[in-house]
Symmetry: D2
Subunit: 353 residues, 4 copies
């Protein structure tokens, strides 16, 4: 069994990793760290795990992680980059669920995350962990930057269109109206995330700019060998909203089709592109996905619409923000890095209702 | 006191009318009808009204409504148009909260509502009850078509832009990503509206076409004396979504600014346009309204954003779908029709939290 | 108009006071304090109040409150008792929504609240602000200890039974299974109150002991001139639970009837007792109240059940924890203290749905 | 693999059976019936199952079920008893998730379910499917009456106390204050179960009497060989409440301890009784279980409290009403009936948050 470590086990992505890994047949959780909870049994903090593990939180120090073949960082931004070098030099692979290894442009990283990048060389060798795009690179990687939740939906929602030679869409027209459940904001004691504040209400947030914006732009650029439109992606419109639900992410993507796009069977294009992808589900044309259809699972579902058969394509994408949008994708990456079947340990049937 | 009748008192717009009218100082609820509940005390069905009224539901027949000076129809589409003639001929004013008097084009009505219009002449004289646009006409009207909930947010969100001579926006670029609480679907026993189906999930619906689409198009056309772009409005993009909350509506409106639009102080334009409107609140630039800020009240709030100072204007509009989006607006119309202060009986402070 | 001050205006009871007082016809809010938000407009923090007030938060100092005829303390426990003396000596009345003036036994206060009482003399003269029991005393009081939310439901649920000469119930059998919406815990940044923690789940809490326990016991004792059973009330069983809803409190009270109780028409007893109480609604026998029937209003509803006509009486009590359970009751007390109609400013129709 | 059939696949217990069985390693779902949806793919109705099954709903007729070794009835009451004889005579085992085989007293069945029992002989041989009590009998049974959700919590919460020779509790004092998520009411189009009715509110229901009452009484009697107190159980107090959450059941059980009970180490008693039970978790003394700790899993958790060290025992029991309270328990029974490991296919980690 692979010895894995989880740094930062008390947040939602951390405990979600435990949920998935505790019954992963090829994995042993060797270490689970938390600065604040060292010494506490994880099932004392999260009784949902009673009977499944005897693990205790430990401090985040090198000894604890020394035996691990892979370490997941479910930490605030900036932690993984500080520990990554020692780990990889000792032969431990690193999967960071924060943003330290997502943006290749360190200036962009510094601008959005307010700190300099401490290991640009490791960043340069790291791989952006979106398996549907980077599968081969992930298999060979030492360090994975696990994608953000919103960027996962947007990139997989647009990938079949953008990777074509002929431009099928007008990138300048791109508008992403995205909606997330509250768990996306993390397990932080903030007034705005209280039940009495966030329930029975709806709002937009970060309209001025969201950290996932540059990550989305970087991802979309990477799909196009032709760099003509690359600047356009920097100006894409991305408006996130907060939904009174625990888990779930819904992106409504609006984009104008070109003549070439109008002439293409897009449903077929998407179906073919994702035919062999175990976690991407292209629903029948005209479908209306709901977020609960992926609750707890690593699946992402896509449905295409062209209202009134016009030139506007509406792409609906749903995922569980904590699974395909975070911990599930990280496990999928781990499976690839260790030559395991990609779906191992990820056969959770969505919880409905 | 004005004797009012409410036809269809068991749905959400009906009971919301009762909530507002039962303490309206100039009104006496003389009749409240329900085919299925005739004879039942309204406070037996809705205990929230205990101590506030002794009213019983009656059958919907002419005698019951004969003494009313105004009758609200909180009924399914098609009911008001059957009873309106007799009422107005007897001097009773009619406010229809359904769609019978919203669409002036009877072909459109028939297409979207699946029934012929039974009184095109009354439709022609009826007034679309959006006070911010039609105040004078409403004051003189015998029949009001009370606006749909989504169309209220979209029209008030775009009115200051579209009523200008110089075109400030490119109408072909208009995208409305709208979100509604579940009460917008009415008090109907449908599986898809069950708590266990609709809570903790999010979805789009009616992407292929929604009945409010032609109403929005009609309203936007009416704002422009120049008919050049009228066809374009028929093709606007409108994608409604269902939010797991009881009340509340949030419209995120995306539209490209023209050169003239870019040169205009839009914040100031909106603030001036609505300076004297008691129920339209233009929030400070950059505000992020949430739906709970209008819970239970007749207010609609608007905030303007221009991400990255680009040419895309993002207009955020919130209202309570049952108040400004339905019953509250109907009471506002009644106040106008009877020469009462426009805000009378509508001084409800939003319930927060 | 009466000049009122509110100390601690950023919590849920504080902003609820503002909601009620901002349209109270006999009141002017002269001061609203907050240590952390001094200088901020209250409607910038709570946009639901936009257009209703220009008030800014100020520091909590004597000058700000000097002009007030009454000051509400919507603060943590221990604040009001520090400021009360100066206020009442200047002729300002005090209504404390925290616990400083609830428990007459200072040892009990110290045990449950972890601080000594700083003004036992003022405590001794203060009046427990449950109008249905202490109306006359409230009218004459300088200082009111506004009841806790749970104690209000329990005392009003048992009052008609306990104030009888003949013992109608066996006090040793008393079990209170109580349920509260999340706003009852206040507007505090705590992980356990986050949307993602508290929604879609249910739990008991404070089973070992809750601060409202001694307050309930004190209140029930006060109803009985015969002190025989007073010790028994100290051992009553009170188990609170947390419900995933914003507002609302539901107490299910179980108690065995004596022979005298079995021989009494309890429905009639309750109806007569509360016949003249404007905010206590005894529902018809067999009713099943829901908390939403009082959402936003100062009403408390009671329904009596005797399953299988046995000797166990089940009393169901609902209220809005922030209104009759806090701010509404405080306004009711203020009305009494100033000789105003008791219901003034409290004519809010419950928000349903 | 075992061929299983599910009759009534469109309700919540039906689709929950599919969720569990579709990845059960020893099972093949051979038939899934629905009168109304015959011909529809199950994943068209429930997109959460896309990619997991190609199954279509069929009519409920004998041919479809002929190949099944076991048939689950997730149907309204009265369906299973009509089909059971033909099935068992053909060697097919039957697990009924409705009430047809729960109550051995046919008069009680008729009284509570309003229909005569059509096969009293099969009822007599059927086994009540609570594995923690009837494991050996279940292994040998042809027909299982799968327990109701509330009765499962109450019986497992009281079992260690009642199966002792010495009476540890006073059965006359028993009060069960139970709370259920909305999915417990089924997937029925009823107004009272709508999102806008059931969310953000709390209520008691069926206070006059609930169908699970006689089932609880029967179960508790069966735990005691001494029949002295059997009549008392008929009069136990059981008050169910509706919680605004999808899944989850919480029973707060109050019972007076006898001298023998006071002298017993109850925590130890419970821990020993359930030490080998894979799905019953006795939490450490003083624990406060929440329903989300079992969301989606077959576990039931129990915590014991004695407030103030008095003679009242408070037993807190949580389960997922659709899993241990219905479909999960049914699969557990199937595993027993076919000699499979009892936990096979039930290794779902609770979904948290």
């Amino acid at each position: 069994k692979i010895n894995v470590g989880i740094v930062g086990g008390t947040g939602y992505t951390g405990v979600e990793l435990v949920r998935l890994l505790v019954r992963h047949p090829a994995v042993h959780i060797a270490a689970l760290t938390s600065r604040t909870e060292a010494g506490t049994r994880v099932d004392a903090m999260f009784p949902s795990l009673r009977g499944l593990t005897d693990l205790k939180f430990t401090n985040n120090d090198a000894n604890e992680l020394a035996n691990c073949q892979v370490v997941f960082f479910a930490t605030p931004h900036g932690v993984a980059m500080k520990q990554a070098r020692e780990l990889v030099e000792n032969g431990t692979k690193v999967i960071d669920l924060a943003a330290d290894f997502r943006l290749q442009d360190t200036a962009e990283f510094e601008k959005w995350y307010g700190m300099p990048h401490s290991c640009p060389d490791l960043l340069a060798e790291s791989v952006y962990g979106l398996p549907e795009i980077n599968r081969a690179k992930i298999q060979a990687a030492r360090i994975i930057g696990n994608p953000g939740c919103y960027p996962t939906t947007v990139q997989l929602g647009l990938l079949p269109l953008l990777e074509q030679q002929a431009p099928l869409i007008d990138p300048a027209s791109l508008i992403i109206d995205a909606k997330s459940g509250v768990s996306g904001a993390g397990r932080k004691a903030e007034v705005s995330l209280l039940f009495s504040e966030a329930s029975d209400s709806f709002k937009a947030y970060a309209v001025k700019g969201h950290r996932h914006h540059p990550e989305i732009a970087q991802g979309l650029k990477a799909m196009q060998s032709d760099t003509t439109h690359h600047q356009v992606f920097d100006k894409l419109t991305f408006v996130p909203h907060l939904v009174p639900m625990i888990r779930g992410m819904f992106s409504t993507i609006y984009v104008r089709l070109t003549e070439a796009g109008l002439a293409t069977d897009l449903q077929s294009l998407f179906e073919k592109r994702y035919a062999d992808e175990p976690f991407v589900d292209v629903m029948p044309a005209g479908s209306l996905p709901d977020t609960r259809s992926v609750r707890g699972s690593n699946h992402l579902r896509i449905a295409l619409h062209r209202p009134n058969n016009g030139d506007l394509l509406v792409i609906l994408v749903v995922q569980d923000n904590l699974v395909k949008g975070a911990a599930g994708q990280a496990v999928q990456n781990m499976n690839l890095m260790f030559g395991l079947p990609e779906t191992l340990g990820l056969d959770v049937v969505p919880l409905m209702p």
